[in-house]
């Protein structure tokens, strides 16, 4: 009985669909992303708003798990011949995507072909530089960007008799030791260990991570961050780790709760941590720019971004490309960027959106959200601070983390650990170069 009803219902639905189908078919565009919680709602809202704004294209967002899961799902789908139209890929996967020439459609090319208004200069160079060729051609569309800042528990500082938040690494080390008296399990800690201690650290001090402008100018890049400066940072932290003045919190951001719970009064992590701090911290807090070594000539230079961008996959129909180009124009709209910035805590990608937010007085009420933007635009980016592009970065950051862990645990000297991180990383780069060069 149920089956018969179902059959009848199905027949009716099909009949209706045939009668009701409009003269113009709607082109569906799959958008795979990795956004959870409030940011997932933002993605859905963006798709809905775009779909409501016109009737030719329909963006269908699908959550695919973590950043790494989404990238893997996209790679597997491409190998099976059904990749999505748009894929959100974290900044770490940029080189992997870039090297896959037959798998992607560069954004600058797409916008030109589809005749959409597109001025690369209207975007913040500190953000688009990360996703552009050395000639300034934008390959992917920046979606959610953040930078790294130092989160400070002001109450704890006052309690320890520290007048103001630290600006330099020597001040951070000294403050961490003072805070140790009141916070014996953790004076200072950090998340996203390789992003903060190697990538941001190098850009902020205007020193190279690797040759060829950190890999932006070619896959034949060689790592060279095993410098006395990097070793000084790691060995200082290893020294502080002994009595937990600095305490390691893991490779990703799982340790961030140690700041909001009040356990670690100084905590270096992403600016995108802001919504959590706002919701959970029961003490006076602020965020300040990352510390630097004052004896380095150019420091502080400018910071680099983290986050993700949208990649367009190759082999789609002309209709789909038209829709994707229109969607990117829709996303670049100033008011929409302002809204996204204020609601998600991620950075605006256009200069106009930044200016508009500034003029509206938003940063007077939310100064913390401007800190990462000030870091990114602190100085015009140099070869060392425009970004980085190393093949196999998804796994390489685990290799670097392993070596940092060995140094912090006292199993290796800082020099040995950084030398090993560089040589293991170089082996991975050579393998990547070999498979990508063709």
């Amino acid at each position: 009985m149920a089956l018969r009803h179902f059959g009848a219902a199905a027949a009716a639905t099909i009949a209706l669909a045939i009668c009701a189908s409009p003269a113009r078919a709607v082109t569906e565009i799959q958008w795979w992303h990795a956004m959870t919680g409030g940011n997932n709602d933002v993605v859905v809202k963006l798709a809905n708003d775009f779909n409501a704004s016109q009737s030719d294209y329909k963006i269908v967002p699908t959550f695919k798990g973590s950043y790494a899961d989404t990238l893997n799902a996209g790679i597997a789908a491409f190998r099976a011949g059904n990749a999505p139209g748009i894929m959100q890929v974290f900044e770490v996967g940029t080189a992997t995507m870039m090297a896959a020439k037959g798998a992607i459609k560069p954004v600058f090319e797409l916008m030109k072909e589809q005749g959409e208004k597109f001025d690369p200069n209207s975007y913040l160079p500190a953000i688009t530089g990360y996703y552009s060729t050395s000639k300034g051609e934008m390959l992917s569309f920046p979606f959610n960007s953040s930078s790294m800042v130092l989160w400070v528990n002001l109450d704890a500082l006052k309690e320890a008799g520290i007048a103001e938040p630290p600006k330099t690494w020597p001040e951070v080390f000294a403050d961490a030791k003072k805070l140790h008296a009141t916070h014996p399990t953790c004076g200072f800690s950090s998340s996203w260990i390789t992003w903060g201690l190697i990538k941001q650290f190098s850009a902020w001090h205007n020193v190279p991570i690797g040759t060829k402008a950190n890999g932006l100018d070619g896959f034949d890049t060689v790592l060279k961050f095993n410098t006395p400066l990097e070793e000084k940072l790691i060995s200082e932290l290893a020294e502080l780790q002994k009595d937990k003045s600095y305490d390691y919190s893991g490779r990703t951001n799982t340790g961030e709760g140690r700041f909001t719970s009040g356990e670690c009064p100084l905590y270096m992590t992403s600016s995108a941590f802001y919504p959590s701090v706002k919701a959970n911290a029961k003490f006076a807090y602020t965020a300040v720019p990352m510390p630097y070594f004052p004896d380095v000539k150019d420091a502080p230079q400018n910071s680099i971004i983290g986050g993700a961008s949208l990649w367009v996959m190759a082999g789609k129909s002309a209709d789909e490309y038209k829709g994707i180009a229109k969607f990117f124009t829709f996303l670049s709209d100033t008011d929409r960027q302002v809204y996204l910035h204020e609601v998600s805590g991620y950075l605006p990608i256009t200069k106009a959106a930044y200016e508009k937010t500034k003029e509206s007085g938003f940063y007077d009420k939310n100064p913390i959200l401007e800190v990462p933007l000030k870091e990114l635009t602190n100085k015009p980016p140099t070869e060392n601070s425009r970004g980085l592009r190393f093949g196999g970065m998804v796994q390489m950051r685990d290799v670097w983390s392993e070596e940092i862990e060995a140094a912090l645990a006292g199993k290796k000297s800082a020099k040995q650990a950084m030398d090993d991180a560089v040589s293991r990383g170089n082996a991975m780069l050579r393998q990547f170069e070999r498979t990508a060069a063709k």
């Binding site: 399990t185 953790c186 685990d398």
Partner: protein
């Protein structure tokens, strides 16, 4: 002389094994052959360029010190997990085999952990063992133990062993309990009349009679610990710190899925397959001789 079931019609016999053969072919032999083929290739992540490189992936693998480290980690990890999950499973089965009040309830609860997915089990234990937040971690710190699995490799190993053992005990418990219940009461009673105390009865009568079960469980547990603990390690430690919990199967996953190096990863899984085949063959050749059926 071998015992042989008699089938008058050979065709029927082949028909009966056919489904099992088909499943093995599709889900075991076909992927295994593909892995061997893939291990001779060098490919980019998207499969856009492919180069046949003979044994280069194997040579590169055998040159990396991390690979030998992973072999060592795997043997330590599997030894600990197999021993403790069997020992605790047997202990619980012996206890639950007594006629005590509410024995059915105990038995049911002892089986539940097996229904928990490995990754979820890891999350449960992370809640308890996370330094600074977890209950057990805080208790340990109160007693002066500087519990820190994020940086201390030994602590990380202890953590994944605990989760893997906890997850596997139920399975072992179930089989040991069934084994215990199939031992004839009369044998044990006879021993009791002869004056053997419970401990002596256990080691001289029960344990030898359980040997088929124990042997079966050793084989199954080794396979479990070599392959199925991937989710536990990924969730609890991610192979860290500094490779302290990176087992062979986790390295296969890391290099293949995270590093997108399918060739190198396939070479590792071929070697892993050979190791497990040798181990199992060894068990059937030598250990099985000590089994009384």
């Amino acid at each position: 002389m071998e015992d042989r079931a008699i089938f008058s019609n050979k065709l029927l016999a082949y028909l009966l094994v056919l489904p099992q053969l088909a499943v093995s072919l599709v889900f075991f032999y076909w992927p295994a052959v593909q892995a061997v083929w893939q291990s001779f290739l060098l490919q980019d992540a998207f499969g856009l360029s492919t180069e046949f490189v003979w044994f280069e992936n194997y040579v590169a693998l055998l040159k990396t010190p991390e690979y030998y480290h992973a072999i060592g980690v795997t043997f330590v990890f599997s030894g600990l997990v197999v021993f403790f999950s069997l020992a605790i499973g047997l202990l619980l089965a012996v206890m639950a085999n007594h006629n005590i009040r509410g024995v059915q309830i105990y038995r049911t609860f002892l089986i539940i952990p097996y229904a928990v997915a490995p990754a979820v089990a890891s999350v449960l234990f992370i809640f308890m063992f996370q330094p600074g937040l977890g209950m057990i971690a805080r208790a340990l710190q109160r007693y002066g133990i500087d519990w820190n699995p994020v940086l201390n490799g030994t602590h990380a190993m202890i953590l994944v062993v605990i989760v893997a053992v906890w997850n596997q005990i139920s399975y072992n418990f179930l089989f040991f309990l069934a084994g215990l219940q199939s031992i004839p009461k009369s044998v044990i009673e006879a021993a009791a009349i002869d004056g053997a105390r419970p401990v002596r009865r256990f080691w001289t009568i029960v344990f030898p009679l359980l040997s088929p079960t124990t042997f079966f469980l050793i084989v199954i547990n080794i396979t479990y610990v070599f392959f199925n603990t991937l989710g536990i390690i990924d969730t609890a430690t991610g192979g860290g710190p500094n490779g302290a919990t990176q087992t062979l199967v986790y390295k296969v996953f890391q290099d293949g899925k995270v590093g997108a190096d399918l060739g190198g990863s396939a070479a590792q899984s071929v070697i892993l397959m050979i190791i497990v085949v040798i181990l199992t063959a060894f068990q059937f050749r030598y250990v099985e001789k000590k089994v009384h059926y």
